[in-house]
């Protein structure tokens, strides 16, 4: 080989080395700048979804008039809420929410343990049945319970009087108890959905070690099972407690008639029940509540700091169950009683009533299929159904994708900006829906007309994503926290990239939680009214708006037909989801 040829070859090698170096440098650059760019993009998206409407509301709370009307900045909104009356309302709200969350959490944890960790018969079916109440529109269960539990002619009281031969009243739903009971019907399945997969994903070796070391079944449950569930249970507790503070339907149905006022009924009063809507007070009151909720989050973060809750490790395990012996029939009975009280009774009442001309009037000559026919022939219903399905599927998928990324960054990285991302993703949960809806309305309407959001399905979709993100983040981050870091590291060591590890390790292991989150958000979208009523336009009606129209125009029977159809949809969704989970777990 001549020297010229050697030189040429040497040049080629140098050129190739240079190219590789350039590629490596550019990849290094991408790595160096890609992450901050990604974080910035995520912060911008979350800011638009949550901070932007919140800033509109903050403006509303600090300005004498809402956006678009000349006025002045002042603190009158905050000054006006500092009254003894509002203190009583606040105490009422916190008290009611606390009691219902504690009771619902205890019940949900018990039910989740029964379903996921014991050999109770029919667990698969029970799991679906227990979650059903969450998916029934609150307005329908409120109507059903008003018929079942009113002091004068409620079915339960009539049966009680017939049985005892007295004139006494067994229950009265128009009371604190009624408000709490109605709220619990939603909180219990909500918390249950949150915690059941965490129970399932736990390595039973930890419980077995406890039992081997001489602990009783109760000690094991209390010190091992429950302690390991701390992130997921505290997350569920706080989500549920905050939702309780923002709850409206239960209080307005069963509290207002007997003088029980809560935060949301007071806000509702400020906005809709005065000649001049008082947005300044309403938003100021919401921000005061937000500050309170923020304290709770800080408390949760302190409670969990520095503790490890890893239960899903690289080591293989086979999820098994505790054998309860004859006690399994007791646990079975607990589930059945819960189902009977929260589903069978109210849904039975709705189902029965849907075949009669009027709710609660069971006479042969009033039997009819008219309500089913009316819904079937209602073109507005079908248009809204189509819109809602589109928004539900797209919204739930987008929200879970966003929530999955946010949760990963906040729980499994030490990247700069992760705390900001966490707070931004939380914000929408801490503002009552009816107030946040106004924030979206103001925010989207005021955008430049070239951005086609206001008056389109985009407005609804973006609002739904913002409202669902906190749930998506909580569900996935609780699941991520259970997965050991070594599995992820192992993936990286074997050459997988960030996205590959996220997709093939974390999401693959946490996907039952993803499925639950998806269903929660999908049905959250189906039920959402506060933002929908303010953001829909002719042609973009959604189911909740159509149901409100039917309700206000005196057609509760048709609303119940839609509610029952939604329940069937839930059953199908849950059945498919649980089948997949079962298949997945058997292959783990």
């Amino acid at each position: 080989m001549g020297s010229a040829a050697l030189e040429e070859r040497s040049d080629r090698v140098t050129a190739a080395a240079n190219f590789t170096g350039r590629v490596a440098a550019s990849l290094g650059g991408l790595r160096r700048y890609g992450r901050p760019a990604g974080i910035t993009a995520l912060i911008l998206v979350l800011s638009f979804l949550s901070l932007y409407p919140m800033l509109m509301l903050l403006y509303g709370s600090l300005h004498s008039t809402p956006p678009g009307i000349a006025g002045e900045f002042n603190l009158n909104g905050y000054i006006s809420i500092a009254t003894t009356e509002n203190l009583v309302v606040l105490a009422n709200t916190v008290g009611i929410s606390l009691v219902k969350t504690v009771l619902a959490l205890a019940l949900a944890v018990l039910l989740a343990w029964i379903v996921a960790r014991t050999d109770t018969p029919g667990r698969g079916v029970l799991e679906v049945l227990i979650t059903l109440p969450f998916f029934i529109p609150p307005i329908l269960t409120a109507t059903a319970w008003a018929m079942l539990g009113n002091a004068q002619v409620g079915t339960i009281n009539l049966v009680w009087r017939w049985l005892t031969g007295t004139d006494s009243t067994l229950i009265d739903v128009y009371s604190y108890g009624g408000v709490i009971w109605h709220m619990m019907q939603y909180s219990t399945p909500f918390i249950f959905l949150f915690v059941v997969d965490a129970f399932r994903a736990m390595d039973p070796a930890l419980e077995e070690s406890s039992r081997m070391s001489g602990a009783t079944r109760w000690q094991t449950f209390w010190r091992i099972t429950l302690a390991l569930m701390l992130p997921v249970t505290t997350s569920a507790f706080i989500l549920s407690f905050i939702r309780g503070i923002e709850s409206f339907e239960s209080a307005v149905f069963f509290g207002t008639p007997v003088g029980i006022e809560v935060l949301t009924t007071t806000i509702y009063h400020s906005i809709t029940q005065r000649a001049q809507p008082d947005y300044q007070s309403a938003t100021a009151l919401s921000f005061a509540a937000l500050a309170l909720m923020f304290l709770l989050l800080v408390l949760q973060s302190r409670l969990l700091r520095g503790r490890s809750f890893t239960t899903v490790t690289g080591k293989g395990y086979s999820p098994n169950v505790t054998r309860l012996g004859w006690m399994r029939w007791v646990t079975f009975a607990v589930c059945i009683v819960f189902f009977a009280l929260t589903v069978a009774l109210p849904v039975g009442q709705l189902l029965l009533s849907s075949f009669f001309k009027f709710f609660g009037f069971y006479e042969v000559d009033m039997l009819t299929f008219e309500h089913y026919r009316n819904v079937w022939e209602n073109s507005a219903f079908w248009r809204a159904f189509g819109n809602t399905m589109l928004l539900g599927v797209t919204g739930a998928t987008a929200t879970m994708a966003l929530g999955g990324i946010v949760a990963y960054i906040t729980t499994r990285t030490r990247w700069r900006g992760r705390r900001l991302i966490d707070v931004l993703a939380w914000l929408p949960w801490m503002m009552p829906g009816m107030v946040l809806g106004i924030g979206f309305l103001w925010g989207f309407a005021i955008l430049p007309h070239a951005i086609p959001i206001y008056g389109t399905l985009w407005a609804l979709l973006l609002a739904y994503i913002a409202l669902g993100t906190p749930v998506a983040v909580r569900v996935t981050s609780a699941a991520y926290q259970q997965i050991a870091a070594d599995i992820e590291e192992c993936s990286r060591v074997h050459g997988a990239g960030w996205w590959q590890t996220l997709g093939r390790i974390l999401i693959a292991l946490a996907w039952p939680a993803f499925a639950v989150g998806w269903v929660l958000i999908f049905f959250g979208i189906m039920r959402e009214l506060s933002a929908s009523i303010l953001l829909y336009a002719p042609g973009t009606e959604v189911l909740s708006v159509v149901m409100l129209k039917m309700w206000v125009s005196g057609k509760p029977e048709e609303v119940s037909v839609i509610g029952l159809a939604m329940l069937i949809l839930v059953l199908v969704f849950r059945w498919v989801q649980l089948r997949f989970i079962k298949r997945r777990i058997s292959t783990l």
Binding site: A70, T143, P257, V258, Q273, A445, I533, Y536, P538
Partner: protein, 336 residues
Amino acid sequence: MLRRRVLGMLAATSALAGPASAQTDDWSKVVEAAKKEGKLVIYTASIGSPFHKTVIKAFEQKYGIPVEMLEARASEVRERVRVEQAAGRFLGDIHHNGSTTTWLMNRDGNFQPHGPIPNIKNIVPPYEADDIRVPAEVISYCLMVNRNLVKPGDEPKSWKDILDPKWTGKILSDDYRALGGGAVFFVVTYDTFGKEFHEKLAAQKPVFSRDLANSERRVARGEFPLYLPFSLQNYNNLKGLPVKPIVPTEGRPYVRFDLTMMKGAPHPNAARLFMNHYLEPDSQLVFANAGYAPVVKGVVEKTLPEIRDLLATKALGTTTPDRQDAMLELAKQIYK
């Protein structure tokens, strides 16, 4: 920055809002122009009303102009109109809402003059149109009793009869301390019978509920024997149930719904045509048969017999927007 932006939008608002006087006054030309506009957008606080839909369908069939409707509660409609106009978005043509909200929105400059409308001449007192507002239909308030629980001889004849001790704890009512029928009842009966009437009524311990449709059903099911104030048009939804509406001898409080043309309406001629259509006797008869008091002459006589007698009663009075907040405050003091 925001303020500058808002002021800019306000400027755009006033520039876009064309005067209705520029519209042609020759009615056949209005009809022609309306058809050319090809669409009408209505914002209404009358949610899910089948009667509204009947009248709109007739309009669509008669003129071939499709109508789009945005239905929401009164305060929600108001806020949407306000923020849309502030942002320079002029999407709606007709606004249909209670007279109080309409009055407040008119004060805020959300409407424009509608121009001449032929059927306005048929409007009967005490209802009247002005250059902005056109009366649409009237909600009348009365009492409702459960026929199984209240014998004909025990039925209240006068508003004052509900003060009888036999009704203590047995009255279900819309809340007088919040906007709505309850507040209208409070204002009118306060003006007619004085404060003492309400102090005595407070002693009767009425139970308040704001879920109107459900309240009527609760009375029908026998939870309470007496409900007030009952919106007469809701009787249609309750036919077949053991309830009976009663208009007391003194008369019925009422509240008017108005039609207005929204500022910057993109289809102003279609809006005018619709207002005129709404005042046609056939349209008004749809509302009258449903229990709304019609606002034009020659309609009450043609209504269904069971409704005619109720509508022929005296209109006792209505609320006025300027003193509404003061009256709500007064109600709060009396009904603690």
